[in-house]
Amino acid sequence: MPTVALFVPCYVDQLYPQVAVATLRLLERHGCRVVFPPDQTCCGQPMANAGQAADAAPLAIRFLDTFAGYDHVVAPSGSCVAMVKHQYPGLAPDHPKLEEVRSRTFELCEYLHDVLGVRRVEGRFPHVVGLHRSCHGQRELRLASGSERQVPPFDKVKTLLSSLTGIQLVEPARTDECCGFGGTFAATEEAVSCLMGRDRLDEHAKAGAEVITGVDMSCLMHLDGLARREGRPVRIRHVAEVLLGEAT
């Protein structure tokens, strides 16, 4: 039984604890011993993506110190995991645990699919669901083949979701278009960010989605914020909540 350290992104910890709970329960259901190292805070992505490497580096070092020594580190977030995998070598190049932690850190669906070999998730989710493919999961972690590349098609998240009982997955037009969140982009380029988000909601609505799900709560927070402001009927759920199923 692998010991999995749960890496809960900062804003998920504070604003979406139910997503972390769902992640924990899902991992336990698939045979993992799960622990939450309390010294963790934030992976440093907001600073790193704003170009503030000096501010991000201490957080990268804290992360590597905190998560060293576990079999695996799993997070319900594609972009935070991409941060660890792709940006930490530049931020903490001399950390003795860099390679160990990087190579053992996974996004939740990636972990279920690639490491645990899960293809079928027990559970029921009898709703029409649109999958929002978050960019960092999509193009940094390669959770799916991507509309730009000419490679054999695959989609790890969709594979897991479609195994649920009763779920009806619908595809929005422009399957892997960005939602416009982009971290601080959501504030510094507010006009574009919100237009992109509304377009994404429209595309999901046209496809008939009652629920929009995805691997990154940050993208979903942006979409949810727009939907709430406009009183749109769509519900936003993290993929961990959906995979946990209803009434199980």
Binding site: D13, Q52, R139, D176, E177, F185, E190, D199
Partner: protein, 478 residues
């Protein structure tokens, strides 16, 4: 960010066009473009249509990803030994009778071109296919010296009529609707009032341009590829206008950036297959003309322009941006470019590649560009030469912060956040306070306090406790 309504003395704007006055930075320029949301959506759809064509064309080549690898490798190799290949090119081009000129910067390029024209008493130049001359500001330079310069690519002619620069490097008039072109041509070319049929308008432009071709004493073109082992320059067009412009007049001046060089003729096959498919979704451009020496009785002059390129070739990771073959695919796929248009970038080359190249010309003036991206990475995945564009944007952000070009307020706010994150108890406390504020303060006040977030978006309803508190309550400390 600056909202359009509060911007003092808003500069005048063509419908969908470029504003006059100083460049206000990407966020403000973009917000202004988006204020006309129907136009922003129309622009988005027009470019997405091209992206879809590109996908279909790429899917028809089973070796697409392999071709991209090859293209990347050839470019990397050429750039790693550029000086040698440039000399080889010059030797071979000269042997075929071309005259090769070297220009350090835009000013020297313009001077060389003007001198060639002036010495031969040229009064009218027809021009085709050159973003480099846009970069160098050649048109105004020549016009100020009494020459008539006629852009002959249809899109470029349209923006030239409107006194605008191209808004896209392959589709220079993509921001203009056909009805607006109808009005413009009615005004400039005497087409029927209210006519907007593209075929009719194109015919009118063709007749107009034919006159210009016949009356020109010199043809000026850009260069898509220059081949070191033969000394040829290759120009790709769909309208055949580079051929028209160079076939008639006795003088052909070809202007190229140093980075256009490929080592061997065999390499061209890789790039010609990638270029048109990436740019417009065509299997190949309609005309790919090889100029090997001047035509009988004519002159061919090739101007090799540096203008910051050799400096860039010494800078990791930005040197990879020199591999760009100017297909424009990154623009067509970029969700920000699609919705904000080329003029929101304030550079000759806009979009993702422009946001990498722009700051190399002066980081201060272009400091907002590397931030005008969600780092979604679609640009890197469509790039036919595999430039890691979004990673380069990230690298630029670091440089801009180090150089003091990032907004001070944002930098300090993130520094404070990092300080909070540096300790688990500070983080837990700050989170508790934030959730309390979310719960207690009225929604309207929260919207104001959350600033740019709250203008169009709600914050999530706050949970009673954080995950870490819940975990400690249920599991105790591990």
């Amino acid at each position: 960010m600056t909202a359009p309504a509060t911007t003092p003395a808003a500069p005048t704007v063509h419908p969908g066009g470029q504003q006059s006055g100083p460049f206000p930075g990407h966020p403000a320029a973009a917000a202004r473009f988006i204020a006309d949301v129907d136009r922003a959506h129309w622009h988005d759809q027009a470019l997405w249509f091209v992206r879809v064509k590109r996908d279909r064309a790429a899917a028809q080549l089973p070796a697409w990803e392999r071709l991209r690898d090859l293209a990347q490798a050839i470019k990397a190799h050429a750039l790693s030994d550029l000086a040698r290949y440039l000399e080889e090119f010059e030797r071979n081009a000269t042997a075929h009778g071309a005259v090769v000129h070297w220009a350090r910067d835009a000013e020297e390029h313009n001077r060389i071109v003007h001198q060639l024209l002036a010495e031969r008493g040229v009064t009218r130049v027809v021009k085709s296919k050159s973003m480099l001359t846009e970069e160098c500001g050649l048109n105004p330079y020549l016009e100020a010296r009494g020459l008539e310069v006629v852009d002959t690519d249809l899109g470029e002619r349209i923006v030239q009529f409107r006194h605008e620069p191209p808004s896209h490097i392959v589709l220079p008039a993509i921001h203009i609707k056909k009805e607006e072109i109808g009005e413009l041509f009615h005004d400039k070319l005497g087409t029927a009032a209210g006519a907007s049929d593209p075929k009719y308008l194109t015919e009118a432009a063709r007749g107009h341009l034919r006159e210009k071709f016949l009356g020109a004493q010199a043809g000026l073109t850009g260069v898509n590829f220059a081949v070191a082992d033969t000394g040829a320059v290759v120009v790709c067009t769909n309208e055949g206008n580079a051929d028209m412009g160079t076939a008639l007049p006795p003088l052909h001046i070809a202007c190229m950036g140093l980075e256009k060089l490929v080592p061997r003729s065999e390499d061209l096959g890789v790039f010609l297959r990638l270029l048109a498919r990436s740019a417009t979704g065509q299997p190949v451009t309609t005309y790919a003309t090889h100029f090997l020496g001047p035509k009988p009785g004519g002159e061919l002059h090739i101007v090799l322009v540096d203008n910051g390129r050799s400096a860039l070739s010494g800078r990791d990771p930005f040197r990879r941006a020199l591999s760009c073959i100017r297909c424009g695919a990154c623009m067509n796929t970029c969700p920000v470019f699609r919705r904000t248009g080329g003029y929101s970038y304030g550079t000759t080359v806009p979009g993702p590649i422009g946001s990498v190249l722009g700051p190399t010309q002066g980081p201060g003036a272009h400091a907002t560009l590397p931030f005008a991206s969600t780092l979604c990475g679609s640009c890197a995945d469509v790039c036919p030469v595999r430039i890691d564009l979004h990673h380069q944007l990230l690298a630029w952000r670091k440089e801009l912060v180090l150089g003091g070009f990032a907004p001070v307020g944002k930098t300090l706010a993130l520094r404070l956040t990092a300080w909070v994150f540096a300790s688990p108890w500070r983080f837990a406390l700050a989170g508790r306070l934030a959730r309390l504020a979310l719960r207690l303060l009225p929604r309207g006040l929260m919207a104001t306090l959350s600033g740019a977030w709250g203008k169009q978006r709600d914050l999530p309803p706050p949970p009673p406790e954080s995950f870490r508190d819940l975990y400690r309550r249920t599991h105790g400390r591990p």
